[in-house]
């Protein structure tokens, strides 16, 4: 789908969507409940508009800074971003259509950094006749795995960014069949997903690094055993004759303590890489939620290899250095071992509607650190005010120590409608 069509689709949804009936009246009577307002309609939609202002302070000592700004004339940059996202659903009983799109406008104090883009995040058609089983065709984000910051088993989707794990991601064009055995199953809860993902010119070719033409077949088998969710994954690449396998689990040890993990084996040519994740979530009595995760990827660089890569940037001519920089920036993780820790507190010290959180992302190979401190305030329904401060630090020739941005301050206002 080209950009013009996507933009037209998005604008269409906005124009058709604004109707007076969506503006809800406030109930004066505490117990009144106009339930008819919430009965199902053939067409329903929702949207979100968010405006953010960002200040970036550069690390002028960084190798990447000197590649990005050869004249070394920038100390900081400010950006303004406007994002509109819309989701729409049509339900004709026999089938359903889902569309979710996003439009972004970026204005920056840096030259040539302004940008505008619109894209279809997800758009798929679902056949309801087979309900509760299901067949879906279109652009879909599969969301495989149990991890919060990392997902080793997410073989058929765009990688999650551990710096911002909750950011929305664009789906891939697939055909998916879901079979839920229900009463026939020996497990409390189970399902089987079969996925067909073709790679062609202009179709899924920007994400999965494979041959020009490829067909991925994926299968996911899920079962709930007691209080443990278990998934098994198997992905076959038809043209290359390669396969990826993996499993994940998630279990509640107690009512406030959950453990999860993922393991994936990726086969590339004659090599084999293992990726592992282990994590936990813990809710304390005073409403602090802790998320801790450890991640290992054997295909990542060792400390010496990444050091050599940074030194290569330093010694390469600008064009070659920019190419290496681009490769580094495309990777969500550079080295083999990472640790993630996030603590969020619900309304501490009786600060109503405030949720402060701190997330530490640590490159365990080079000991560089990426800390993100957030404060979210939700005084009224549908409004979220957020501020965040991201600080990256580390020795020279380390991942976060060499990042061109050292500090990032951001204020975001989001309104849902």
């Amino acid at each position: 789908m080209n950009r013009l069509t996507q933009l037209a689709l998005l604008v269409g949804i906005v124009i058709l969507g604004f109707s007076p009936s969506r503006i809800m009246a406030q109930d004066d009577d505490l117990y009144s409940f106009n339930v008819e307002e919430f009965t199902k309609k053939t067409w329903e939609w929702k949207g979100e508009i968010s405006a953010s202002a960002t200040a970036k302070i550069f690390n002028k000592e960084s190798l990447l800074y000197s590649v990005k700004f050869p004249n070394r004339d920038q100390n900081q940059a400010s950006e303004f971003n406007l994002q509109v996202s819309l989701e729409s659903r049509w339900d004709w009983e026999w089938s359903r259509l889902f569309l979710a799109g996003e439009a972004n406008l970026l204005r920056s104090s840096l030259e040539d950094a302004d940008a505008e883009n619109t894209f279809l995040r997800e758009g798929y058609w679902q056949i309801s006749q087979l309900d509760p089983h299901n067949v879906e065709i279109g652009k879909r984000l599969l969301r495989w795995g149990k991890g919060y910051a990392f997902n080793p088993v997410a073989f058929l989707e765009r990688a999650k960014n551990p710096e911002d794990p909750e950011a929305s991601r664009e789906g891939l064009w697939i055909v998916q069949g879901i079979w839920i055995p229900g009463g026939f199953s020996v497990f409390d809860n189970s399902s089987v997903n079969l996925v067909y993902l073709p790679v062609r010119d202009d179709l899924n070719d920007d994400t999965l690094t494979v041959l020009e033409e490829e067909i991925f077949w994926g299968i996911k088998v899920y079962a709930l055993i007691g209080t443990t969710d278990i998934d098994l994954y198997y992905v076959q690449k038809s043209e290359q004759g390669e396969l990826d396998r993996g499993f994940d689990f998630s279990s509640n040890i107690t009512s406030n303590f959950e453990v999860h993990g993922e393991y994936a084996v990726n086969h590339t040519d004659e090599l084999e890489f293992q990726t592992t994740l282990l994590g936990l979530r813990y809710l304390t009595n005073n409403d602090v939620t802790w998320i801790v995760e450890g991640y290992h990827d054997s295909s990542g660089l060792t400390k010496d290899e990444s050091k050599a890569l940074f030194e290569l940037i330093n010694s390469s001519p600008t064009s070659a250095a920019k190419k290496i920089l681009s490769q580094i920036q495309q990777r969500k993780t550079l080295n083999q071992n990472y640790g993630y820790l996030k603590a969020s507190v619900k309304e501490p010290f009786n600060w109503l509607y405030f949720t402060p959180a701190v997330a530490w992302l640590v490159n365990l190979d080079d000991s560089s650190v990426n800390v993100n401190t957030q404060l979210a305030y939700t005084p009224v329904s549908n409004w979220v005010f957020q501020t965040s401060w991201q600080h990256l630090s580390g020795e020279s020739v380390t991942q976060y120590g060499e990042n061109s941005v050292q500090n990032k301050l951001e204020v975001i206002v989001t309104y849902s409608f």
Binding site: M24, D27, L30, Y31, F33, V35, F38, T39, K40, K46, G47, E48, E87, R89, D91, R96, Q126, S128, D131, P132, H133, N134, R143, W144, G145, K146, E166, S168, I180, P181, G182, G183, D188, N189, S190, S191, N193, Y222, L224, T227, D229, S250, S251, N252, T254, S255, N256, F257, E258, R281, L283, T289, K346, V380, S381, N382, V384, T414, S416, F417
Partner: protein
């Protein structure tokens, strides 16, 4: 003589039957065991399988409110799914409970995440186990029942049913359920921790006939000595029996619960 004996026997039997009928209401309360009362309350609060709409209101000490609207489905004793319909920022979020397992599905963020009974997807005094309430008999054993001096909405003396959690994974260790025996409905439930600390009190109000044999309180309010001045309210509407396939209560179906409205 034989006829006289037969006649007397018949009259005695009839009088006995009459007396039994007269004493039946009293006998019912007296004869029901604590466990039988628990089953009666569960069935009085909702049919085994149903759908309903709920409005949840969190009220802060300054009077400000936050409202949520949920569409709820329940099957058997321990399967519940709830879909957020409002506010717009929460629309599409789905929670599922199967026994001790609870998941939250956020359409944009990702796949179903495990959540715990002590957390609250809406904030406020109601926690996840209150919002995704399964039958009380699934989580609690009824221990004792006794009549109190307090009178209920029907004018009858309230019964106090004491419940104890079956396992440590249950949100409250002990419940004191005050029952109006005539309405067969709880009027008030006090929830305690293992150490005997009162966590919250639930008040059941506005007994309403929803039709198809469902007559239950349409409003549940709660407050907590741990959060003085705060109050949460749950209002039920359009509760009706509904049979569903067991496949609906699976994590893979969470994204499609909204199609069942």
């Amino acid at each position: 003589m034989k006829n006289l004996i037969h006649h007397l026997k018949r009259r005695t039997t009839a009088a006995g039957a009459m007396l039994s009928l007269l004493l039946l209401p009293l006998g019912l309360y007296a004869q029901q065991t604590p466990q039988e009362w628990l089953v009666t309350i569960d069935r009085s609060l909702n049919p085994p399988q149903f759908e309903s709409y709920r409005k949840l209101i969190n009220i802060e000490p300054d009077g400000s409110k936050k409202e949520f609207v949920l569409f709820t489905l329940k099957q058997d004793k321990e399967k519940v799914a709830a879909l957020f319909l409002s506010p717009a920022s929460e629309k599409g979020r789905t929670t599922l409970r199967v026994g001790d397992n609870m998941w939250l599905y956020i359409p944009n963020v990702g796949r179903p995440l495990r959540i715990t009974s002590l957390q609250s997807v809406t904030g406020g005094i109601f926690n996840n186990s209150d919002i995704l309430r399964v039958d009380y008999q699934t989580e609690y054993s009824a221990q004792t029942v006794k009549e109190t001096d307090e009178k209920g909405p029907s004018g009858s003396h309230l019964l106090q049913l004491n419940l104890k959690a079956k396992s440590g994974s249950v949100a409250y260790d002990k419940l004191e359920m005050m029952i109006d025996p005539k309405l067969k409905s709880p009027v008030k439930i006090r929830a305690y921790t293992v150490s005997g600390l009162l966590i919250k009190t639930l008040y059941f109000k506005k007994v309403t006939d929803f039709g198809q044999g469902i007559k239950r309180p349409a409003v549940v309010e709660t407050d907590s000595p741990l959060h003085k001045g705060y109050k949460s309210v749950m209002i039920f509407a359009k509760m009706k029996p509904r049979k569903l396939a067991s496949e609906v209560f699976t994590t893979d179906y969470m994204g499609r619960i909204e199609t069942l409205r």
